[in-house]
């Protein structure tokens, strides 16, 4: 296996980490206005992700940095092509991050309402945009021989991309609702379970629609064949099993299942891409691949050594951090946020 493949896999791992972890943060944020009937409940919800959201978000930043280091042409073409989408992503991530820190540091209701609104928008828009972005990378975008994007913003807003974006939102909501039911007690716990049960069929429908879209809009058939392999199928099966566990009120198992669904969905996206990273709809020969978009073998070697040392360390202390904050948030908990 050459280092280009290693880095393709590693970037997939970073996105898996991001959607797995920040996925439930986004879900909690989207559910905030629906489950957070009063200020106290909203604070409890925010505090379930309080110690973690920032560390979870770093998975995305690292994915961006890793793309820059390992596949500079992918980074350059992708970030300039998705210009407006990334601009909106940045704006919403900015207000969301500040909102967590600022919201409860003042009691004025309007102050808090502004930041609650920021958390909601900042949790809804990013997964939507990232879903849109990934769908377009798979579907193909107008890219010329110099790897320059030649389309506009509205090229990106095709039905397939929108459905995929909605699917990302749907999975986040489901994942977040189950996370909330794991981290809370009492009325909020019950409400979270109910939200999980209600959002589950929506997520299933969106996944089905996005799957149909993938068959219609991407080169998945020529690439992977009608039978796409075990990963996408397992991704769908785990989603169905998640419904079973929600019904049986086995939150932890449901959470494992939606986690697997999210991870396998990302895996599927990367399988469809491989060995391309951005498909050109102008001419397949112009597509960016893990070879023509990559850094020199020397840089890849250096970065591989760095990643092999530090990714396990990061995993270690992040898991430990989740262990430290394993207790559920109750009405009596000290709320820092």
């Amino acid at each position: 296996m050459d280092l280009n493949i290693v880095w393709f896999v590693l970037i997939a791992v970073l996105y898996i980490g991001f959607f797995l972890l920040e996925g439930f943060d986004f879900g909690v944020g989207i559910l905030l206005p629906f489950l957070g009937k009063d200020d106290k409940t909203r604070r409890m919800m925010i505090n379930t992700i309080g110690p973690h959201w920032d560390g979870n978000e770093v998975w995305l930043l690292t994915a961006g940095g890793a793309t820059f280091a390992a596949f500079p042409n992918w980074y350059a073409t992708m970030f300039s092509a998705f210009y407006i989408a990334l601009f909106l992503l940045l704006l919403t991530l900015i207000v969301r991050g500040v909102a967590f820190e600022f919201r409860s540091k003042d009691v004025h209701p309007r102050w808090r309402a502004v930041w609650d609104w920021s958390i909601f928008v900042g949790s809804l828009v990013p997964p939507l945009l990232l879903g849109v972005a990934f769908a377009n990378m798979m579907r193909g975008m107008p890219i010329d021989a110099t790897m320059t994007y030649t389309g506009g913003f509205f090229n990106l807003l095709n039905p397939y991309a929108l459905v995929t974006g909605l699917m990302a939102v749907g999975l986040c909501v489901l994942h977040g609702a189950i996370f909330l039911s794991l981290k809370t007690t009492g009325a909020l716990h019950e409400a979270s379970r109910k939200a999980a049960w209600r959002s589950w069929p929506v997520a299933v429908v969106l996944v089905i629609l996005a799957t149909i879209g993938t068959y219609l809009s991407t080169n998945v058939v020529s690439h992977l064949g009608i039978n796409p392999g075990i990963e996408p199928i397992a991704g769908f099966v785990t989603l169905l099993v998640a419904g079973y566990f929600i019904r049986k009120k086995q939150d932890a198992w449901a959470f494992v299942m939606t986690g697997l669904t999210i991870a396998l969905t990302v895996v599927t996206a990367f399988m469809i891409l491989f060995p391309q990273v951005m498909v050109s709809s102008t001419d397949p020969a112009y597509s960016l691949t893990i070879y023509n978009a990559a850094s020199s073998p020397y840089t890849l070697r250096v970065m591989t050594i760095v990643a092999l040392i530090f990714v396990p360390i990061v995993l270690g202390y992040q898991i430990w951090s989740f262990w430290v904050f394993r207790e559920r948030i109750t009405e009596e908990s000290v709320l820092e946020y």
Binding site: V58, S80, F87, R110
Partner: protein
């Protein structure tokens, strides 16, 4: 305005804004960690109160630094995609390493620190804030390694029109980093020190029952501050000496030195015209030669001379940085730095003479000194970046070659306006919270009480 200049303006706005929060994060993380170390070792409540008081301000500031930092990592690809293609092989590596080594560490352990007061043992909790401090400063190191490549490219070769890394350690141990990194770390300490001196002074001047927290804070800040201000001046001096060989054009522009001189005098005030001629100038004879070369005699090269040389080396074009901005930002930085040194020595004398309790006459000035490091930090970066003109990577790639091709004026303008507006709103909220908590009492009961205070909201009733 074309795409290039809008993209440059956007980079300037977002970077200056980002760097408004970063130095305080760098310095205050260390000082809060020191305070908590004192608490863990002595078990005295006053140190716990200090840790909590400054920790709260640290966290508010930290959040702003984090969110504005995300823009920095994305905008290379958005606005400067041709630059990203050209240097990604080298420049991307420190950026990725920064995320992997520093961002994960600081964000995870800050979460543990904020939420872990009752969940972690005292020692592990202390370790958390130290890891935050180390990670923040480590993050500065890696981003400066990336910036150093733009200032002084090393450890690369050009293959098929792209810069490729040939020696990772040459990139990491870029000669530029050895003066730049200490300079930034020292400026962080100085920024945090003046922040604490100013806010402590506000409390010391109030008729208050218990000032122990702020007396002790003032003492610590005066000591850390002198390390910072002296360090920043010394490292700044070696930085300038390094630039004499690595970027003589920047030195000439920051001194408004049009013609090569031997010996060269240091400009106190120089006014030039648009044709690049000196109209009026007061210079201290020999001082620039002395500062730049450690000797009274010696050639310091001027703008006209360098422009002619660069035209020979790189072909026709404008190689002279905007002298006005470079010259005045250099003066802003040095001027603020000298004032800081004087103020800090005064603070140290007050502490050594144990005069804080007497509310000495000049003490109140420290409230107004809080902006000084901010002026120095901002003008310092303006000088560094404007002085690199017209290069995006010194000697290798010009600014106009680095800008994105597929991005339109409308897109850059939209994002520029968007970022500027949201940043303006956020800084208002940030200052409001900062002032509110800076005015809060330093004792532990403050926590919920001050949150419950009836607030004058920025957004109105």
């Amino acid at each position: 305005m074309d795409v290039l200049n809008l993209a440059r303006l956007q980079f300037a706005v977002t970077t200056v804004y980002h760097f408004f929060f970063v130095p305080l994060t760098l310095g205050l993380s260390i000082i809060v960690a020191l305070m908590q170390t004192l608490y863990v070792r002595t078990n005295r409540e006053v140190y716990k109160d200090m840790t909590k008081f400054w920790g709260k301000l640290f966290v508010i500031n930290f959040a702003m630094g984090v969110v504005t930092g995300i823009v920095q990592e994305f905008q290379f690809g958005m606005n400067w995609s041709e630059y990203s293609r050209f240097v990604g092989d080298i420049f991307g590596a420190p950026l990725a390493i920064e995320a992997l080594l520093a961002f994960f560490l600081e964000s995870t352990f800050l979460g543990l620190w904020i939420f872990g007061w009752d969940k972690l043992s005292k020692r592990v909790h202390l370790l958390s804030i130290w890891l935050v401090a180390i990670a923040s400063n480590l993050s500065a190191l890696w981003i400066l390694i990336a910036n150093s490549f733009m200032q002084q490219p090393v450890g690369y070769e050009i293959v098929n029109g792209r810069a490729q890394m040939t020696d990772f350690f040459a990139v990491v141990f870029n000669p530029n980093i050895w003066t730049q990194f200490p300079h930034v770390i020292a400026s962080g300490l100085a920024t945090a020190a003046f922040f604490i001196l100013g806010i402590s002074t506000y409390h010391l001047l109030r008729p208050s029952q218990d000032n122990a927290v702020f007396q002790r804070s003032f003492q610590i800040a005066a000591i850390v501050g002198i390390l910072g201000t002296v360090g920043v001046i010394m490292s700044g001096h070696s930085q300038m000496q390094h630039l004499v060989t690595s970027q003589p054009m920047k030195v000439a522009a920051s001194e408004a030195l049009w013609n090569t001189e031997d010996p060269a005098g240091l400009s106190v005030l120089t006014i030039g015209n648009l044709q690049g001629e000196e109209v009026f100038s007061i210079r201290i004879p020999n001082l620039l030669s002395l500062l730049a070369l450690d000797q009274l005699q010696g050639t310091v090269r001027g703008l006209n001379d360098l422009q002619a040389e660069y035209e020979q080396t790189y072909g026709p074009g404008d190689y002279t940085p905007p002298v006005f901005i470079t010259y005045w930002s250099f003066r802003g930085m040095v001027g603020a730095g000298i004032l800081m040194l004087v103020a800090n020595i005064y603070a140290l004398l007050l502490v050594m003479g144990e005069q804080l309790g007497d509310k000495p006459k000049f003490l109140r000035f420290f409230i107004w000194f809080i902006p000084l490091p901010y002026i120095a930090n901002t003008t310092g970066w303006l000088m560094t970046e404007f002085g690199r003109f017209p290069w995006i990577v010194y000697g290798l790639m010009k600014l106009d070659e680095g800008v994105s091709i597929s991005v339109s004026i409308g897109m850059v303008a939209l994002s520029l306006v968007g970022f500027t507006l949201i940043y303006a709103a956020l800084i208002a909220a940030n200052i409001y919270l900062m002032v509110k908590f800076a005015r809060g009492s330093g004792t532990a009961v403050q926590d919920e009480a001050s949150t419950a205070q009836t607030a004058v909201s920025l957004i109105g009733d």
